[in-house]
Symmetry: C2
Subunit: 131 residues, 2 copies
DNA sequence: GATCTTATTGATAATGATTCTCGCTTTTAC
DNA sequence: GTAAAAGCGAGAATCATTATCAATAAGATC
């Protein structure tokens, strides 16, 4: 078995820089983008911290259509995303009415432990106005 | 610019074999899985045809949590998927009540051209019964 | 403050899915 | 039949992500 997974998290300026960069941005950012921005932080470190922060629920992972994973410093609690497919702007949607929908369908088909995943893709006002 | 993209599609036994394999399976399959199954069809050919078939709307692409893309011969029309996270069984959900939800939220935030994407992940009856 | 333990870092190699190359084969129109 | 072009496939190339591992630094203990 590999080295046991530490439960304690130390404070490092690298992680602080990553969280800070995410907090200052409305868009979701990939590890590569963050590494370009914070050229003092190694690429592997960016990946590691993004993974852990997402694991700890401190940031959200967003899968882009091309397969890359981007991350965003969202507020707490279950929510969904409305994403501009042009500029990447992300709006958090905290009013989720999909639990009923999922539960009903799950029951009908005999599924248990169902969770839903949903996103809205569109063009934001700013991007639409300069087309 | 690269070679212009052909609009005409020729009939080949490779593509037929791929579609046939998908039609015979309730689960979604990756290119690798299909290549293992149909060892007479080259891997690049599997990828090429899956991409085109999805482009043409003849099959559905399903993104797995780990990032791989799997494909399934679904019936026509807009629908969502209820997927067993253990055995991969896929149930098509053709009763979609999410358009209203999406449109309403889009309007509220000034987004246009919004489309939704949603999936349900759970454990199917069969898998739940033998835990 | 010195010292020790070990989480963390980062340059680099490795992985793995997907895409590209390019010469050969097959489909299909004439 | 012939020929133009789509399709094929073995292998090389991409590219995002992960694994290595020696060096560093955070936090605990004295
Ligand atoms: Mn929800
Ligand atoms: Mn729908
Ligand atoms: Zn925008
Ligand atoms: Zn199942």
């Amino acid at each position: 078995m590999p080295t046991s997974n530490p439960t304690t998290r130390r404070k490092t300026e690298q992680r602080a820089a990553i969280v800070d960069a995410l907090r200052k941005n409305d868009r979701a950012m990939t590890a590569q983008e963050l590494h370009d921005l914070l050229d003092s932080v190694g690429l592997a470190t960016v990946y590691r911290n993004l993974g852990r922060l997402a694991e700890d629920g401190e940031i959200d992972a967003i899968r882009r259509p091309n397969g890359e994973t981007a991350y965003r410093a969202c507020t707490a609690g279950h929510h969904h995303h409305l994403i501009c497919r042009n500029c990447g702007l992300v709006v958090e949607l905290h009013d989720c009415s999909l639990d009923d929908w999922g539960r009903k369908i799950a029951d009908k088909h005999g599924f248990v432990g169902v969770e839903h995943q949903a996103e809205l893709l569109g063009t934001c006002e700013k991007c639409a106005n300069r087309s």
